[in-house]
């Protein structure tokens, strides 16, 4: 269970960015999360509820956008989303990946503010 430290990390980054950008009150933090990040979405959302209390962003929600794990196939050369992270090969031809092209994301992409 390291989601609490991840939640605190998210708040650190978001608070710093909000201050830097001088935005009006932040309504939500938008996060991209991949299935190979090692972070469980439900646990992270629960941990975030605890972590945000008493911080400058205690009224900001956490909005998680799931992104798929993708592989670039060594056979057909095409980037495709895998069927599951237990089957990390090309869903079409079954070849092993030349590289993993997505799925490790744990990244703040935007802050949502009042207009």
């Amino acid at each position: 269970m390291h989601e609490l430290s991840i939640a605190l990390g998210i708040l650190d980054v978001a608070v710093e960015q909000a201050e830097r950008l001088g935005t009006s009150p932040v309504l939500a933090i938008h996060l991209k999360l991949g299935p190979l990040s090692g972070v469980v979405k439900e646990s992270l959302l629960a941990a975030y509820e605890l972590a945000r209390e008493g911080t400058p962003l205690e009224n900001a929600a956490l909005v998680i956008q799931d992104v798929p794990a993708q592989v670039c196939c060594s056979g057909c050369g095409v980037v495709r989303a895998v069927l599951s992270i237990q089957q990390l090969y090309c869903p079409d031809c079954g070849s092993p990946p030349a590289r993993i092209d997505g799925g490790r994301e744990l990244e703040i992409v935007a802050l949502e503010t009042e207009p």
Partner: protein, 229 residues
């Protein structure tokens, strides 16, 4: 009608700080000419026993040291110290994994230039360590024959972040009715192409093969790991 909102693009990795420290560590390791291997596994998979054996076997031919992470106790450090190499314990308290920062702190004052290999034994946990880069050159994931062949399918992320899989306690494989083909197939499903070694730290089976692999990996690492003298 949706209420008006404004999105301010940020794009920043949450673990950026850890990644930065890990990158600096990796550069420091390469500059010092030390090849760094980390070990992850569930508790009881045999990391410490394996490492004890590796350190003893390497001692006559090169200079090694180890960092070992645990929630509490320094039992593992004491066990590893029997191999008569420098060992430091990182006690993480309630934290379930090592971070680059904890490795950096534990290295304070250690002359890395005098080492050929540094081993970092992570806290026994197959979940949390997967998110944190420690600056290592090679990440080993161990699982023992008594844990079941489907371990890779249950913990795909940690296998995905590892560079090599070690199946440990092979001396017990018959008693555990271990199905090596299934285990290997499962590893390849979550991490296609990953090298797999079967060994037993108790009988020594597979240990020499591992050491040879380690030597060739170290030799192949760019950044001039060869040292004078």
């Amino acid at each position: 009608m949706n209420p008006p909102i404004r999105l301010v693009e940020v794009r920043q990795k949450v673990l950026k700080q850890n990644d930065l420290v890990a990158r600096a560590l990796r550069e420091r390791f390469h500059a010092a000419g030390v090849y760094v291997v980390s070990l992850v596994s569930s508790p009881g998979a045999g990391k410490t026993r394996f490492l004890e054996r590796v350190l003893s076997l390497l001692r006559p031919r090169c200079r090694t040291a180890a960092l070992v992470g645990d929630l509490a106790t320094d039992n593992d450090a004491e066990r590893l110290a029997r191999a008569q190499v420098p060992v430091r314990q990182i006690t993480t308290g309630t934290v379930c994994h090592l971070e680059a920062d904890s490795v950096e702190k534990a290295l304070a004052g250690w002359p890395l230039e005098e080492l050929d290999f540094l081993f970092i034994e992570n806290v026994g946990n197959l979940v949390c360590p997967s998110s944190y880069d420690l600056g290592e050159d090679l990440r080993l994931v161990l699982f023992s024959v008594t844990e079941g062949e489907d371990k890779p399918l249950k913990y795909p992320t940690i296998f995905n972040t590892a560079d090599m899989a070690i199946i440990s306690k092979m001396d017990l494989s018959q008693a555990a009715e271990f199905d090596r083909e299934t285990a290997r197939r499962n590893i390849q499903a979550v991490r296609p192409g990953m090298p797999v070694l079967e060994l037993s730290a108790k009988t020594g089976e597979g240990m020499e093969e591992f050491l040879q692999l380690l030597d060739s990996r170290r030799a192949a690492t760019s950044g001039g790991l060869s040292k004078e003298g």
